[in-house]
Symmetry: C2
DNA sequence: ATACATTTTTGTAACAATTACAAATTTGGA
DNA sequence: TCCAAATTTGTAATTGTTACAAAAATGTAT
């Protein structure tokens, strides 16, 4: 019945009231909410809820792998000139961002599930060539 | 010779000193800089430069299509629970974000140009099914 | 059950990225 | 040269996020 508590325990997270409610919200509403959206949604139900708790909890959940933190389409904007089609790769060791030449004609001006695609961004993460060499 | 001014005119942008320097910087340094990085880099050369000008200019450039504004890996973080592999599609009309079921085994644990890929994010933009219907 | 160390939550303040806005400056055309 | 329009600038406001320390809740040994 109380599967949420079981899920938390499974991920080695103590099942506090706040954590249960936040996880429950994310299970029920698959709207990719921001931390603030979650806070707003739960503020009525948990009047003492602090926004810091929401941030802390989401950080814990991400670290334990119970959910995924996504950087989607807004903010922390970076600019690049005159783009021939390519994709981005960020090294999680040295934080360098590489441009990789790969065409993705399969996306542009295509229809997927009835949606018309006009733009695509492919962002990869991993360990770059240079850092792989260093680790040897 | 002064191809930067020509490029600006081509995109219907009056070639002011600030705009020339900012575009020049983006042409020369393909490091995906943030607005602040551009400001820091040019502050010495243009001592009166205002950060607002950098933001205004980048906005103008993006709107006119002279450069691309990217949301890469940080900030404006959104959360989602328990992710089976899928990609994200955002409708530029109604701003709704859809999950699309598509597997991208081709990326994960793959090596591209010598870099080891451990994580990937595919973000598409376009006009969704519902909005396409409305426009008919 | 009690005491106590540990964990969790909370509120405030700090910080960083971005935008709003109005004044000052520069520009281009009559 | 003059003037309206465009551009730049500085300040303040806003937003998302983090730092931090105090308060509250929890779990365990006794």
């Amino acid at each position: 019945m109380n599967s949420i508590i079981e899920v938390l325990k499974e991920y080695d997270i103590a099942p506090s009231m706040q954590r249960i409610k936040i996880l429950e919200y994310l299970q029920n509403y698959k709207t990719h909410p921001t931390a603030d959206m979650i806070y707003q949604a739960l503020a009525d139900e948990i009047p003492t809820l602090s926004k810091t708790t929401v941030y802390n909890t989401l950080k814990t959940f991400s670290e334990k792998g119970i959910l995924v933190a996504l950087s989607l389409f807004e903010s922390e904007i970076r600019y690049e000139y005159n783009t021939h089609p390519h994709i981005h790769f960020k090294c999680i060791k040295c934080n360098k961002i590489y441009d990789l030449d790969r065409s993705f004609d399969l996306y542009n001006d295509d229809i997927i599930n009835g949606h018309k695609i006009t733009e695509h961004h492919v962002n990869l993460k991993g360990i770059c060539k240079v850092c792989l060499e260093k680790d040897k």
